[in-house]
Symmetry: C2
């Protein structure tokens, strides 16, 4: 199985490429930066998406996992870049599949809870009325993936991922970055800044859980999506207070977290729902997300040992 992963130097992309290689896939890793790891049997193509797609997607490409993106704060700051990468980049990838693949490849698109706006709770029938450009671009992406699937150009699967915590390493331009740093930094004995209140609820998934969702989206029968090729991935609702309590339970010092309200973060993250009904994902066999304690534990296991 030959699988193309875009954004394969990124946090999820590089781990996914390694997992897929372990499962025997020949992985083509596309990213504008050099992937930190190129797994055995894999091939890296480094450059802007539009320049590598021609070499990446071929007649025998069986699957594409499209992760290349400008994330939330980045897309809010640079409107043109966000549309160019998140909309035009996706469209270019879908077009490459349509033009080159002998059979419609499976096409997993990493969407996001950011497609929702101004609602406290969401299910798979909640309208996508995003209040930030990143969410608008992801919602447009879902419509494209569904329409290209309906036409038989790809066998598409959009998966709306929760905010991921704990994201290891340096923060990217995601407005939700604090959802990782307020745990990650204190676990490493460092101070962190929390821009939101203690009683802010978040919709979270661990890296392991998000990767399981992307892999399951690749494995599942496309027909299981029903009429519309999109699903809310599993996650858990956790407040900032509950996160810091879990931090303390695992030996972290919650006193290392300073609360400094940030209106720019609140304007993005504050519009995302924190409570989800994910019964469609459950019915499709997506594995449950793990608890906040398991999230902290897996970070310690995967990153700190």
């Amino acid at each position: 199985m030959s699988v193309v992963v875009t954004g394969a130097a990124g946090f999820l992309g590089n781990r996914l490429a390694q997992n897929l290689a372990k499962r025997g896939a020949q992985v083509v890793l596309c990213d504008q930066i050099e992937p930190p790891v190129v797994p055995a049997g894999g091939r890296a193509l480094v450059g802007p998406l539009e320049e590598t797609l021609g070499a990446a997607i071929a007649s025998d490409t069986r699957a594409v996992v499209h992760l290349a993106a400008v994330v939330s704060s980045g897309a809010e700051r640079d409107f043109d870049l966000g549309y160019r990468v998140n909309v035009d980049g996706l469209r270019g990838t879908l077009e490459a599949c349509r033009a080159r693949c002998a059979q419609p490849p499976k096409f997993v698109f990493a969407s996001s809870l950011a497609v929702f706006g101004a609602t406290d709770a969401a299910d798979d029938a909640t309208p996508t009325t995003p209040l930030n450009s990143y969410g608008a671009q992801k919602a447009i992406g879902e419509l494209l993936v569904n329409d290209y699937s309906r036409k038989g150009f790809v066998d598409g699967r959009s998966v709306r991922l929760p905010t991921i915590s704990i994201r290891p390493g340096a923060p990217n331009a995601a407005a939700s970055g604090f959802a990782s740093s307020i745990l990650r930094e204190p676990l490493a004995g460092q101070r962190a800044v929390c821009p939101m209140d203690l009683d802010t609820d978040l919709w979270l998934a661990s890296p392991r859980s998000a990767l399981r969702s992307l892999e399951h989206a690749l494995d599942v029968d496309g027909a299981a999506f029903g009429d519309y090729r999109c699903v809310n991935a599993p996650g858990v609702t956790v407040s900032v207070e509950e996160m810091l309590a879990a931090l303390a339970r695992h030996g972290g010092d919650r006193g290392l977290v300073d609360f400094v309200p940030d209106p720019a973060v609140a304007a993005i993250v504050g519009t995302w729902p924190a409570r989800f009904d994910t019964s469609k994902a459950a019915a499709m066999g997506f594995p449950d997300a793990c608890s906040i304690d398991a999230m902290v534990r897996s970070h310690i296991e995967d990153e700190l040992n």
Copy 2:
């Protein structure tokens, strides 16, 4: 007030341009074909949208009504043309406003009930899961108009119009064309073909009602839209049987209608909801749509006398 109307040679666009001119607006009519009427004080720019926008939209443009489109069956038949006109054409128009206008112009976008799929009834909180390319392109358009509004580039207003009946003149490439022809042709003593069953329900508005909705969308305070710049316009639910009964009441011969099922039409029109809750439109002061009898009457008054 200088107002740009795109698609101004089209059915709604040309009538709207005339109405706006009567209200004192200086109208710029953009279309790839020559508008049948250029109202007094108006100016026609003929050519593909991307070639006329530069001359049409200027620093003092106060409003844009974007109607240029490839309609439902056309967009289903020619996938690339649909995306080029319905998505890229809209984006180009929004970008021209962003680049050129001194103040964010009012921007009315004609969306459609086709954004919905696989639901019998819809309200303003029904998710847009379209099952045809035209609907996907319109749903993408709504997301763009909202995001450009949120950013302050335009003062956007997306209006989801019902199927329009009775559309006078020659049919265009709309899959819902029969909703006009099964009344229009018999009223003119001619035969018509109905591709759907007698008990098919449709969501309809007369041309007058659709024009009132577009004009009200231009007049209303943008803040009335609330968080999201989109509204389901008023319409009425009418079955094919009720349409033919109204035809007979107004002297038409329903025997002139032949029933010939068309799966291509059913695949598009059959996925559109026929029952709407339009309480958002009502609260915003959009005028009610008229009854099927008034639709037939206004066609006779406006077109046959």
